[in-house]
Symmetry: C2
Subunit: 300 residues, 2 copies
């Protein structure tokens, strides 16, 4: 059994969080010129916050296939760049209009809206610069496949498309299958890429990829249902941002469509199903199983 699978979930999350913070710190030195404010904003958004669940997924899955940890961490940092940029833009007044994120002022509050737009755009570009760099992986075939899949997962047929559906949800009442599709794009596509990236770097054959995709799809949906439950039942201080926003906006969510009890059952069923996708792996997949459980048990 590999080193990481033996340690528990909490120390694994703490370790990957420290590693991602260190990567961002090295990647974003503040220049002594008028761009300083932009870099400070990027650092404010990227360093020292968040669950780092996506980086942990990348590292835990890479560990299954003996992928070099430094390479896994660089790819994890690229994914976190995309995740963080989407949060910075999502928090803007014209989008979700959130003042707090991860217990701290959002970028447009701490800096200004224009800087928030550019900090998001800059983190977006940085993700692809990171993936394309030969320091990430020696094989250009691997790097270009990572770039293509991340661009798809984050663009209009992935995350950004899901965010556009989310905007439409303010004016239309979506049914369960449309909400499911929305969430599969908005959060599922990037979570799917975390596992796909490990499969690409680990040269995993088709059958293994299908299982990893199934795992990713299930925890992605479970994650979102848990988010919807936290929005209704969570503790604002623990979550670090205002709650009850979906309810106030009249948006259809898993909880509004299923009710609290059935939503909780559905999330729990998805976690079991996700873990079942890992049955061909042994104890070395312990951390991925723990992540699946954490996704619905977390309080933030």
């Amino acid at each position: 059994m590999s080193e990481i699978a033996q340690i528990g979930l909490k120390p694994a999350l703490e370790r990957v969080a420290a590693e991602i913070d260190r990567n961002f710190d090295l990647l974003l030195p503040v220049p002594e010129d008028p761009r300083a404010r932009l870099f400070h904003a990027m650092r404010h958004a990227a360093i020292g916050g968040g669950k780092r669940m996506r980086p942990l997924l990348v590292c835990a899955a890479c560990d299954l296939f003996n992928v070099d940890r430094a390479a896994a961490l660089r790819v994890a940092t690229a994914i976190e760049c995309i995740h963080v940029y989407s949060l910075v833009h999502d928090d803007l007044p014209c989008m979700d209009d959130d003042d707090m994120r991860r217990g701290r002022p959002t970028v447009h509050i701490q800096f200004d809206e224009a800087t928030a737009v550019l900090a998001g755009d800059s983190l977006h570009a940085l993700a692809f610069e990171l993936l394309a760099d030969e320091a990430t992986h020696a094989d250009p075939f691997v790097r270009i496949e990572l770039v293509r899949e991340l661009a798809r997962a984050s663009g209009p047929s992935g995350m950004a498309g899901g965010q556009a559906m989310d905007l439409a949800a303010e004016h239309e009442t979506f049914d369960l299958s449309t909400v499911t599709r929305l969430q599969q794009l908005k959060t599922g596509a990037l979570i799917g890429f975390c596992l796909e990236a490990a499969a690409i770097m680990g040269h995993v054959p088709a059958e293994g990829r299908t299982r990893l995709r199934g795992y990713a799809r299930d925890i992605g949906l479970a994650f979102q249902i848990a988010d919807d439950l936290l929005d209704v039942e969570g503790d604002e201080a623990a979550v670090g941002k205002p709650l009850h926003k979906d309810e106030a906006a009249g948006k259809a969510t898993f909880v509004s469509l299923l009710g609290v009890e059935r939503a909780r059952q559905q999330a729990s069923m998805l976690v079991d199903q996700a873990i079942a996708h890992l049955s061909s792996f042994g104890a070395e997949a312990g951390l991925l199983r723990a992540v699946a459980r954490y996704v619905v048990e977390r309080d933030r």
Copy 2:
């Protein structure tokens, strides 16, 4: 002499504009789902407008090195994705707050601000998806080099960094060297990538790349000086957007620092210098020479 070098600048611009429009039309079919509005916004921003100067630069330079035109056009479309996304975000109320662009309502006016943010983000991702696709170029080394260079040219050490300097220019008075650096990042980096992309696809040796870089640097600055002159002296109807904005914002520009006459001389000198960089090329570089002259003679 190749076909494209023989035709004049105007038909070459019209041809490339039609080809870029066609590429965007094929790349952005509107889905029959709640993402339709996002795709309509992307199409509004990307199709049927603009000078298409960057795509022409890519195609004219690729033509020098016998690069397949379809490949050149796909890369040109990717660059135009980045250019267009930057305009969409730049026009937002929190940035330049422009209602008109290319003679039409800007995306946040025609649609809404949130859709404009997402349309920009989506075009940004699409650029990298295009470059990474094997339909663009068979050689993964070429594709990954294109991705890396475009990410650098558009990120915080390129275009986005220049935009951040532009924000700072509202509060600080920049001197000529800082304004030059600002413009080299804000517009120069992406124009530089147009030539660099051709050099990458054409496997051009170091010496040739240095000349192309010199050409790009000079026309990039000349282009910006011409823009500053248009802002002061241009015809709003021809330019298709409100003018005198820099003056109103109290921003230092080439014109405010040099005066109209010296700015015009400087632009003209840069054009001569850009053309001198092409001296080792024969008549086949005629179109690149014509672009250099067009950059300062245009009325929009």
